[in-house]
Amino acid sequence: MIAFVIRRLLQGVVVMLVVGFIAFSLFNFVGDPVALMLPPEATQADRQAMRESLGLDRPFMVQFATFVGHAVQGNFGISLRLGRPVSALLAERLPATLELAIVAAALALLVGIPMGVYTGLKRNAWFSRFLLTASLIGVSLPTFLIGIFLILIFAVWLGWLPSFGRGDTVMVGPWSTGLLTASGLKALILPSITLGLFQLTLIMRLVRAEMLEVLRTDYIKFARARGLTNRAIHFGHALRNTLVPVITITGLQLGAIIAFAIITETVFQWPGMGLLFIQAVQFADIPVMAAYLCLIGFIFVVINLAVDLLYYFVDPRLRIDRAQAGGH
């Protein structure tokens, strides 16, 4: 178990180094930063002095090592567009994105799993057929279109919910939250539905397919033959066996939710990291882009580690215990 965690952590470090390398390479794609920073009339000597003061004359690997060293301490430099430390900008925006992503993921799980179980058990009921057909819409409609439809219906026509922004936020320590105010909660509804709908339908269809698969297995047949109640069979035996693939997909999708939040945040002008990133792209604000890339990479690595650890709790076959295994 501990060896497994250490191995996974080392793999995570390797992944982060690769992501960091790509992020670092961004700086070299947009031309010479010295040319951007100095006025056009600067002399060759000025350029050379600037280059030396920034450390740009040093070998590539040394520069990369310096970048990594700073990045580990959370120092990604100064935003070219806003002139403030990138880490401070991201820290301001992170709560908005995480709240949106977590509410969207919770919505997807809390609605998607029961719907998947229902449609798996009542395969032929008209309501499950309806859900299954309706879920195709969620899977196939692009996120921004769903967002625009929701704004049209609930903000423009009905006027029930705000069409943009986060509403009022409250500071809880360094974390600005919209979950504690009525306007913050109202503002969260449309973006989280927009962001979570695809995941919801995906999880529903996945749970349904897994349920159908598991219900055909011998141990479910044997559970029926032992006279267990349907409730015990469906929820105690079948559902738990569908969880491993559900956890895998949910983990990957949580990363995707945070990354896809870019589109939803743009549609709803949600003041999160995604919006910051889009604006950074428009202004070629490389430090912000590089930091965003590293942060998203880091989130993916952490989620994958958490998913692997969850497997251990769900599936005893993965808890390799050599002292007990294979006894006759």
């Binding site: 033959a225 032992r226 006279g227 006894g327």
Partner: protein
């Protein structure tokens, strides 16, 4: 039935049909059999003869699109084939236990064997958790699991195939049912383990007075274990009788073929006799006796008229050779 007492289980004219896109297939056709309390009835036949479906029909677990299309099933003289789902559930495990072919896949991999035992015990018997656990440990000891107190908290993957089948037997017997349907209980096991499991099943059922319907295609197992044997072919019973009679003096040509194809030790044969051809598919069962195209003794009547079971010596056989 030769027994004076009422049979524990009686199947009368059972018919099971499968509705498919290409029409209705009859998987079980007019099967009648009875099992006395404590009796071991062997059911033999080739794959697809309908042995397992008969077992599933008795415990009310035929998977759609299959359904019981006719006949009745009686337990203690009470019909159970038309019971509501909830009433039938209470009979499964409590009155009729079941053991399936593959012990490797019969147990839920995510729960300890103890949890699965306790869950089943508490479903059927009024016991609290501690009593149920104690009962479960006792059962595991009874089926020959060493260090049962410790092993009860292990997961199925920590047991070998033979040990898992012992756990499955403990699960099937945990509410002390009066009948156990054992569907090929040893087929998936190593040959060296098979005899142990059969002996265990036989001993436990004798001790508890449990009747057994032993579905298998292994005549050796039948010869060793069963009191009576029923031979199935293409969804019908072709011969029923006491096990020694059926083995040594089979009356139906199909049973004769089955017995001839079992090699005997010390018998030096060049080639093992086999029944020519193969069992007909369900949608192509021939007119008359289903066995007639493969039967060496078939005559005109066999191709026209379907024989019912009729007395033939000490057994009953569905064969025109024994008519009149």
């Amino acid at each position: 039935m030769s027994e004076a007492s009422r049979p524990l289980l009686e199947v009368r004219n059972l018919r099971v049909e499968f509705t498919t896109r290409r029409g209705t297939l009859t998987a079980i056709d007019d099967v009648s059999l009875a099992i006395a309390p404590g009796e071991v009835l062997g059911v033999v036949g080739e794959s697809g003869a309908g042995k397992s479906i008969t077992g599933s029909a008795i415990i009310g677990l035929i998977e759609p699109p299959g359904r019981i299309a006719g006949g009745e099933i009686l337990l203690d003289g009470q019909r159970i084939d038309n019971l509501p789902a909830e009433a039938m559930r209470r009979i499964r495990g409590r009155q009729i236990g079941a053991i399936f072919q593959d012990p490797l896949t019969s147990l839920n991999p995510l729960y300890t064997v103890g949890r699965q035992l306790v869950e089943t015990i508490q479903t059927h018997l009024a016991m609290n958790a501690a009593q149920a656990r104690e009962h479960a440990v006792g059962l595991l000891k009874e089926v020959g699991i060493p260090a049962a107190e410790r092993r009860i908290d292990h997961y199925p993957h920590q047991f070998s195939g033979g040990m898992r089948q012992r756990v499955v037997i403990a699960l099937a017997l945990c509410a002390n049912p009066r009948l156990v349907i054992a569907d090929e209980p040893t087929t998936a096991l190593d040959v060296s383990i098979q005899a142990q499991i059969i002996q265990l099943l036989k001993r436990l059922c004798r001790e508890h007075g449990t009747a057994v319907m032993l579905v298998t295609h292994d005549m050796g197992v039948i010869a060793e274990t069963a009191d009576r044997v029923a031979v199935m072919y293409a969804g019908r019973l072709v011969e029923v009788g006491p096990v020694q009679e059926v083995i040594h003096q089979p009356r139906h040509p199909y049973t004769e073929g089955l017995m001839a194809s079992i090699p005997a030790i010390g018998q030096d044969v060049e080639k093992l006799p086999q029944i020519e051809g193969s069992m007909p598919r369900l949608d192509a069962i021939p007119k008359g006796c289903a066995f007639n195209p493969r039967c060496p003794k078939a005559f005109a009547r066999c191709r026209e008229e379907r024989p019912e079971l009729m007395a033939a010596g000490a057994t009953c056989a569905a064969c025109w050779l024994h008519a009149g």
